[in-house]
Symmetry: C3
Subunit: 424 residues, 3 copies
């Protein structure tokens, strides 16, 4: 690392970031033991990929057995960036200084985590150490948000089941229970979805969010077209796959309208295919296909100029489209580096490509996607280092920014843009 | 920048380049005021993307108002490479030394541009300062070329409307007026297109050129198949979208034949979708989709071994195909870095990939695509720096070329290849 | 190159590698003259792409004439990495120290190659100098393997013609002659294919291998569905393209079963289109299309958890899917950098992406794909340098590995993983 890069990194580490997408559970945000870290799907799926039977970490097993199995397998994945996150979290958050986790030393790490985890408000300590001001949650539409610590957590309405499972009776029942609306018509769908959004925003929500398969097309069917589909779904009738697609597109559209009416962004996470590898470990079964195009969303972006669509794409092949659509559409904002794209080599390329051709005020640099707050430090740490590298090499050394401008740009990406875009 | 890179850059800056694709208007090639620079679609579209209403730069507004609106918004896009082009042009061509354009200083810049622009032959000064020997124009098929300064400008027959709008009466009328041929049959299309090409070449044209959507397939329908389509189009009858596609493919084929007969290259610019964002600023409404494949063109490349197809692709996902088809097909020549791919991060990768596996004599390094000659300097400047970087890091330092070979290679890309390929 | 990179490279060059894919002919593995090197399709196709008529290297011409034609054209391709392979092989294997091959000096190089080639066991000298322990061959299913020098060569069952040409009578006849099975039914196909695999494994084969077009989908038709197709093909009846596709999918499935039963990997080389440029030189007519998705193979990977699929992809657009499917599926192992992806710029990116997110024990670093053993040295040399660069810059300098770990990782990629995966 050059001196310049080190200076920039020091400044970037001092930026109090906002994390606009995570799966942290409000009621149990921090780790209580090593199992909470090693149970993160990245570790179990990589260890399984490297040869560990999925059964070795079956939820039915005692925690210590699962941890021991994982510790035994860690050497098989110690080249990965995800392994690096683990060791960085252990060292920087728990003072665990050993080079490796071993059969001998893991109980010590486990105890350190348990001791820290028992302290009241431990998650606030962790966020403080991670220099994260706020972390978005991912909340089911009927989740009780009353216990959320709104000083540091921001609710976010997750909408996958509404869009893709409205034909399932339990989803409609949960929706009716939450909103008082039985969704038997297109109008009722709009009413229910609007009510959810209003409730969520009243409780401090920053946005709605959804993950989408690569072939999803928000075709924006109108209420007249959707009405019979909603009615039939509500009666428990089967829909053809094409009808199911149109129903999903209608619910999606109702959500976009609700975002518009509530003045909140819609987080689109595009590209995932669920359960491609059903025999995998929990959380390690989904993949993606590189097919499709952001052009499928052009109509949506045109229909809702008032809505900020913060967009993440899973396949690298979509990345150029994302940066370019954000260059042209005022309401398209590239957001972070999602899941299978959350790897330094891809981050470095895409970060540079966004910084070189998208207005800086539109870029949401990073989010953690984490399940426990402990991963915010190493994940944002990785991103902060990439940011320092790209700003140093391609902007400051190239004479396109001075150091102060580079740091100000980093501050936009890490903090000011998410705060402004999500209103938090 | 290392000493090696600096030495190479100095040599590369001394190469008198040929710019084989621009939109410079022959009758008004250089800027007359700041509005001519800030009106470039890159600035208006990026400022709009960053929040400026499109109406702030409506053509109906007084020029000074538009300029003031743009100057106010420049800080929102000052991270972009396009912003860098602007400031480099102002400094190096107009001696404007301030760090930024401001509400206070922009009239000064405006005056400097107006003063320079009033000097006779100003565009020649600019090209001289940019070390550009010749710049290709993009000419409508019925444009009067008599006033073109052929010492520095090279006409180029733009053919988009012929291929995609022959069913429109005004296009056929313009064609008849220009060539004397009423295109009521396939044979007449060939005759008219051949006549255009002949006329253009007589007036110094370097090539024909066309931009194409990602799903275009040059299927090469024969005259027998095309005849009824041409006839119906000529009678004003509606064509189905499939018929329109076949008509377009036929006109395209006639152009390929005309290029063959005239011994001139056909510039293919593949991938654009028009008016994806209709509410955008002028010039800032088009985008692309990453779908499709250069394999769609394999038949064409096989049918016309005598024609040089100089190919640009808009989507990065097509770049590997382009470099590889150029590696195999003698008549496929990768050309520059077009529009949304004209960003350092993509240029660096693609330039390296072409230099590592495509014969050097086939590479057209760069073209400006500019609308005013003032952008030749910073755009080619950006490319010259990328060229110095890639040659230094991947060729000279890696022991694969010595410095003289690296400079000779750069000379091919910037000058000798376009001169040889286009015969200028 | 930094000191660190040099140190790593020295260690990496000392690793005795295993080359799991080549086209070296067992009966004539090393070069007997310059024509054997310059006749490699990379040189003839690149020279042809740069303007040399294909006829200049027609097989009917005297060897010296072909060599002279190629030597004359080498300056047109001296920027390419493939040219670098040639000169490195000449220098390091034949002591040819001139900077260039010329009309004057090529006979000298030719004699040096002929002299060396006449020495008994010359190919072993070459492999020794290249630090290659073993090299896989590519064998036709009815090839006589008795003469293979099994100390250094490993047979591999090439299966393209079985899968894609079973409807051709000569293929079925060769199969019957080899296995004694007339393939008139689905069961007979399975029997014949199983017998082939058994025979090959008895003779030391490391795997089966196949190259596939980008739209191939291993849909796994069952025997009942395939039976009438096999029967009709056996009677010489024409199959529709859809039927041919299903027949191919069935034979492919039988091969996957045979790999499972034999406990051997299946090398999948995905993406090639044959004879896209029929007028090209021999070996220089195939290309690819970037379309399709590794998702087409998800069912296969699920059906055969016991089979290691070592996967290469030809189009860069598939690379992210490959690294990611290997991250999730235990039985998907990324293998090398194939053909049009075998270029430093792509290797550097993909190598980094695999090392950052795929368990290290699953990565097959490289294979040569060579036709004469002389190319193992420069091709592996190129890869060794990329490996040193990526490990130095992204792992050791970044603090994610120490030097010993980096070297150990390189040893996995070059040697230990292929040995373990293929059991050689």
């Amino acid at each position: 690392m050059t001196d310049l890069e080190s200076r920039l990194l020091a400044e970037i580490q001092a930026i109090r970031a906002v994390d606009c997408h995570s799966h942290v559970p409000a009621e149990s945000p921090h780790a209580r033991g090593l199992a909470d870290l090693l149970g993160y799907h990245y570790y179990t799926e990589l260890a399984h990929s490297a040869g560990m039977p999925a059964e070795a970490v079956a939820p039915s097993l005692p925690e210590a057995e699962r941890v021991a199995a994982m510790v035994e397998r860690l050497p098989t994945i110690d080249n990965t960036v995800q392994y690096g996150w683990l060791m960085e979290a252990l060292r920087d958050l728990f003072g665990f200084e050993a080079d490796r986790l071993t059969a001998e030393n893991w109980p010590e790490a486990d105890r350190a985590i348990a001791d820290a985890g028992a302290r009241p408000g431990r998650y606030r300590e962790v966020l403080e150490a991670s220099n994260l001001e706020k972390v978005f949650l991912t909340n089911a539409f009927d989740e009780d948000l009353s216990g959320v610590d709104r000083d540091v957590f921001v609710p976010c309405l997750r909408t996958d089941d509404l869009v893709f499972q409205l034909a399932e009776a339990p989803v409609r029942e949960r929706l009716a229970a939450k909103t008082g609306v039985e969704v038997g018509s297109a109008a009722a769908v709009r009413e229910a979805v609007g009510a959810l959004m209003t409730t969520f925003v009243e409780q401090g929500a920053g946005s709605a969010a959804i993950s989408l398969p690569p072939d999803f097309a928000p075709t924006g069917p109108d209420a007249g077209e959707a009405d019979p589909l909603v009615a039939r779904a509500a009666r428990g009738e089967d829909l053809s796959s094409d009808e199911a697609r149109r129903l999903a597109a209608f619910v999606f559209e109702a959500l976009a309208e609700a975002c518009r009416d509530a003045g909140k962004p819609f987080q689109l996470m595009i590209g995932v295919l669920r359960s491609v590898y059903p025999a995998g470990v929990a959380g390690g079964r989904d993949l993606f296909a590189k097919t499709g195009s952001l052009h499928q969303y052009a109509g949506l972006f045109n229909r809702y100029p008032e809505v900020d669509f913060t967009v993440s794409v899973l396949a690298r092949t979509w990345a150029h489209e994302l940066a370019t659509y954000a260059w042209i559409f005022p309401n398209v904002k590239p957001s972070g580096h999602w899941w299978y794209a959350n790897v330094p080599v891809h981050i470095e390329y895409e970060l540079r490509s966004r910084l070189e051709a998208v207005p800086k005020g539109k870029l949401i640099g990073y989010y953690s996607d984490m399940y426990k707050v402990e991963f915010g430090l190493p994940k944002f740490g990785m991103y902060r280092r990439m940011l320092a590298r790209v700003l140093a090499r391609e902007f400051v050394e190239a004479g396109r920014m001075d150091e102060a401008q580079a740091v100000a740009t980093a501050r936009l990406l890490l903090r000011e843009n998410p705060k402004a875009i999500f209103g938090v």
